[in-house]
């Protein structure tokens, strides 16, 4: 099957191949023809190109040669040009420069010469004017010369002799003019000052006269020329200083008065001391002083200071405007310090009348303005008006300072000058009147009302709340409280600002008290029990008032401060602490003294028999004496309860010392025990007399024996009583009194102490051992 397929293909191929062979030969023939054609064309083309090229090349070469020749010609021309023309230009430029420099020099010289000429003519003009005493023109000339000379500065001409000569001439003229003007000024304005040692009261004299001194030269001319010479301000400054020192100061500070005399062109002002008939306070009244100052100023203005500064201009700048620069501030200060400050009112009434002074000040100020002493454009100048409008503040300051100084004076007063405070009257008449007048509540009423309001029921405080017990305070403390009330009362009618100041000042008063009194009275507070007690009372008394002082005035204060709850209570702890500390220190001192007295008791056992009683008795007597003395000193001063507690505390210390002294004794003979008992009995007998009944209407009351409440404060009293018992008791009695720690002995002594006492008092026997064994809890 395979064979058959192959043959089939071959067959097909063979037939196809014969066909293709025929086709190829025709194609080749055609291609050969086309190649020939192309060869022919190419030959034509090459022939054509090369045939034209050669003549073109030849032409181009020729042109190139011609160009090169032309270039060489141009270059040679350029170089010849460079060589010849350039050198010629350099020379001519140099010449031109030289010429222009010379020209400049020449013109400068001409200029300078012109200036020199100008100077020369100016000098001539000056000379002329100077000789005719036209000083202003003369000075103008000089000014011009000066300007010209200074413009020549740095010039070559400076080295020339003509310049130097002119310069010398100029300064000579300048000084000449200056000197002349100085002389005129000096001769025109003449100060006659009082001698240092002159007490006669002749004052300063100032005369102003331009006419005589300078042969008809007007003052105006002098001023102008001085102005032009720029020496006016210096002169005026000196003048102003003199005015302030020798004119204003004597007028304001001392009682000099100005007297003015005018004789033709000469005007003289003279200060005279007047022997015044009125009192000195009137003499320094602003009205009078301002009048005097105004008079001086008017004199100065009329005769000198109204001269114009520079001529020609319409602006009326006068001498005054320069003058005021030097004195205005100082004058105002002088017036405020020495006149207005003295006029600050001391009382409310004076303050209300102060409008008069204000009017005077306003008028004074407007007068000053019209004289240009105060510039018009400034409305609030100087502070005179300011001072007046702040008068409430100044018044307040002065009042507060006065209050503080008064308070300080009170604090320095002796503490031992006393006033009695009774339980009935809270205030003395003066304060009560004050209170009535201002509808103040009494503190007690105030508190009772407040508490009743809080409780809002039938419950109310007793009338005795806030009452003081009877006691004494120093007069100074009472007056201090009165001062505080007065100050606050005054605050209620003052302006809000000063009211607040016064409240603060009141607080300051008490701060001051706490600071000043303990320091100033330190010695007496430490050494005098009476003074210490008084100071204690003072502090508590002041605190008592401070508690309610704020509430009483809170609603009455004016302005914003009226609503503020005022309180002085924050100062109460400070003051109470101050008083307590002082008194406690005194108590400690007294206790130490008592213990010192009792010290010899410790030697009781080591002393020979004979002196024993003496040794034991003396200290006890001393202690009782000391205690009696203290009671006497304090009894009138301290409130009863404080007196009793204080004495009781000291008694306690004394008893405690005596008892513990005896308890520590190791051996007490029966004789000793009798002696010890005796001294204890002395104490027991005499101590009650230190405590008289509080309500001693009972005339039969033997001191302290009818009322034993004082014993509650003397905690050691029972100890003394039990010791007395033990010193004279049998063993059985002691054991019974101990009563298995149920008896009174056990409530005052410890078992150890009782055992110790038994051992000291009784001989060592079986009975004693038995008894001791029963002293237990």
């Amino acid at each position: 099957m395979k064979m058959s397929v192959m043959s089939l293909v071959t067959e097909a191929l063979v037939s196809a191949g014969s066909l293709a062979k025929d086709d190829w030969s025709t194609k080749i023939d055609r291609l050969s023809g086309r190649a020939y054609d192309i060869k022919h064309e190419l030959n034509d083309f090459i022939q054509q190109c090369y045939g034209d090229f050669v003549p073109l090349l030849t032409t181009t070469d020729n042109i190139h040669v011609k160009l090169c020749q032309l270039q060489a010609d141009v270059e040679s021309l350029q170089s010849s040009f460079d060589n010849v023309v350039k050198s010629q230009i350099r020379d001519s430029t140099k010449e031109f420069e030289k010429l222009s420099v010379e020209h400049l020099k020449t013109s400068k010289l001409t200029d300078a010469l012109e200036k020199l000429y100008l100077i020369h003519t100016s000098l001539e003009g000056y000379d002329k004017n100077f000789k005719t005493k036209q000083f202003f023109e003369a000075s103008t000339w000089l000014k011009e010369i000066g300007n010209t000379l200074s413009s020549l500065e740095g010039d070559d001409l400076v080295d020339t002799s003509i310049y130097n000569a002119l310069r010398t001439k100029f300064s000579w003229c300048q000084q000449n003019l200056q000197y002349t003007l100085d002389e005129i000024w000096r001769d025109s304005i003449v100060w006659t000052l009082p001698l240092d040692d002159d007490t006669e009261g002749t004052g300063t004299q100032l005369s102003i006269n331009f006419v005589n001194a300078s042969d008809g030269v007007s003052g105006q001319d002098v001023v102008h020329s001085l102005m032009t010479c720029q020496t006016l301000s210096y002169k005026l400054q000196k003048f102003a200083k003199n005015v302030l020192q020798y004119l204003f100061e004597p007028v304001v500070v001392s009682s000099f008065s100005p007297v003015i005399k005018c004789e033709g062109a000469k005007a003289v002002i003279k200060l005279e001391k007047k022997i015044c008939l009125t009192d000195s306070t009137q003499e320094f009244h602003p009205d009078i002083v301002f009048g005097k100052v105004l008079m001086c100023l008017e004199f100065l203005y009329n005769h000198l200071l109204n001269l114009k500064l520079s001529p020609g201009t319409d602006r009326d700048e006068v001498l005054m405007s320069l003058f005021r620069k030097y004195v205005c501030e100082d004058t105002i200060k002088l017036l405020i310090d020495h006149c207005l400050r003295k006029s600050i009112p001391n009382t409310k009434e004076e303050l209300n009348n102060y409008d008069k002074v204000a009017a005077v000040v306003k008028q004074f100020e407007s007068s000053l303005q019209s004289m240009h002493f105060i510039p018009e454009e400034v409305t609030q100048f100087g502070g005179l008006i300011d001072f007046i409008s702040d008068i409430h503040v100044h018044f307040g300051n002065q009042r507060c300072a006065a209050v503080l100084s008064k308070a300080r004076k009170l604090m320095k007063m002796d503490i031992h000058e006393t006033v009695e405070i009774t339980s009935d009257a809270e205030y003395n008449d003066e304060t009560t009147n004050l209170l009535h007048s201002s509808k103040l509540y009494k503190p007690s009423e105030l508190v009772v009302q407040a508490v009743t309001k809080i409780l809002n029921s039938e419950m109310s405080l007793s009338e005795n709340t806030m009452r003081l017990p009877r006691f004494r305070v120093s007069k100074a403390a009472k007056e201090l409280i009165e001062l505080a009330y007065q100050t606050l009362h005054e605050a209620t009618t003052s302006s809000p600002e000063s009211a607040m100041r016064m409240v603060i000042t009141t607080q300051d008063v008490f701060e001051l008290y706490a600071a000043v009194v303990p320091m100033y009275h330190r010695e007496s507070l430490l050494n005098l029990p009476q003074v210490a007690a008084l100071h204690h009372n003072d502090c508590w008394y002041i605190s008592h008032h401070l508690l309610t002082l704020g509430h009483q005035f809170s609603k009455l204060l004016p302005g914003k401060s009226g609503g503020v709850e005022l309180s002085f209570a924050h100062q109460v702890p400070m003051l109470r602490h101050l008083g307590s500390e002082c008194f406690l220190a005194q108590m400690r001192k007294q206790r130490d003294l008592l213990l010192e007295c009792l010290a010899p008791l410790k030697k009781f056992q080591s002393t020979p028999n004979v002196d024993k009683y003496m040794i034991a008795e003396r200290p006890v007597k001393q202690v009782m004496h000391q205690l009696h003395h203290l009671r006497k000193v304090w009894s009138d001063i301290l409130p009863d309860n404080v007196l009793q507690t204080s004495i009781a505390t000291l008694v306690n210390s004394a008893i405690s010392e005596v008892v513990s002294c005896i308890c520590t004794m190791e051996d007490i003979s029966s004789e000793d025990s009798i002696q010890l008992k005796t001294i204890c009995c002395v104490l027991e007998d005499q101590i009650p007399s230190l405590f008289p009944a509080l309500d001693s209407d009972d005339s039969t009351d033997v001191f302290g024996k009818r009322d034993l409440t004082w014993q509650r404060n003397v905690r050691k009293w029972q100890r003394l009583a039990e010791l007395i018992f033990v010193l004279d008791a049998s063993l059985i009695d002691i054991v019974d009194r101990w009563a298995h720690s149920k008896g009174p002995l056990a409530s005052s002594f410890t078992a150890v102490e009782v055992k110790g006492l038994i051992r000291a008092l009784f001989q060592n026997t079986e009975r004693r051992a038995n008894a001791i064994s029963k002293i237990r809890y």
Partner: protein
């Protein structure tokens, strides 16, 4: 004397003039003084008393009735196991005033179970103002023992003290605890035992 069971602290309180000191004098010394002076501060007496074979020592504190003679209030209440309130049957205000004294005892007493005895004194007198029933009612209300007595005639005096002591001893914790606290176990344990057997 040696077999003392314990020592009891007894107080006598009441208004001035009701006869506190007279009651004490009658009890301790069997005496009566019509002119008895006012007590100043505090008076103290010791007496041994035997009840049901137990001997007890009494430390009796007689306090001043008058306010101005009273001194150390807290210290005489301290540790007291029995208190005798005395009023005068012929003076009503001394009876009405008892509440004040009760308040004071409650304020200062250190023992909550303190035994209280109410004594109406002076029953020998004629113008009686407080009846026995009233006294009894008051005593019941405040859990007190009650007796009427006369220091002058000796009526009820001894009985008052004996009943009080009996009650104190019967009250648990009022006296044993305190003694135990301070040791001395031997004596007290035997004595306590003795008491219990009774």
């Amino acid at each position: 004397m040696d077999a003392v069971l314990t020592t009891l602290k007894i107080l006598i309180i009441g208004d001035s003039g009701v006869g506190k000191s007279s009651l004490l004098l009658r009890f301790t010394d069997d005496k009566f003084d019509p002119e008895q002076a006012a007590t100043i501060g505090v008076d103290f007496k010791v007496k041994a008393i035997t009840i049901d074979g137990n001997t007890v020592k009494l430390a009796i504190w007689d306090t001043a009735g008058q306010e101005r003679f009273r001194t150390l209030t807290p210290s005489y209440y301290r540790g007291a196991q029995g208190v005798i309130f005395v009023y005068d049957t012929t003076q009503r205000e001394t009876f009405t005033h008892l509440t004040t004294w009760l308040t004071e005892v409650e304020t200062y007493s250190t023992k909550p179970a303190i035994v209280k005895m109410l004594v109406g004194n002076k029953i020998d007198k004629e113008n009686r103002q407080v009846s026995r029933e009233e006294g009894l009612k008051f005593a019941r209300k405040h859990c007190m023992l009650f007796i009427e007595a006369s220091a002058k005639t000796r009526d009820g005096v001894e009985c008052a003290f004996e009943e009080l002591v009996e009650k104190v001893i019967q009250t648990p914790g009022l006296w044993e605890a305190e003694d135990g606290r301070h040791g001395n176990v031997n004596i007290h344990s035997t004595n306590t035992g003795g008491y219990c057997q009774c």
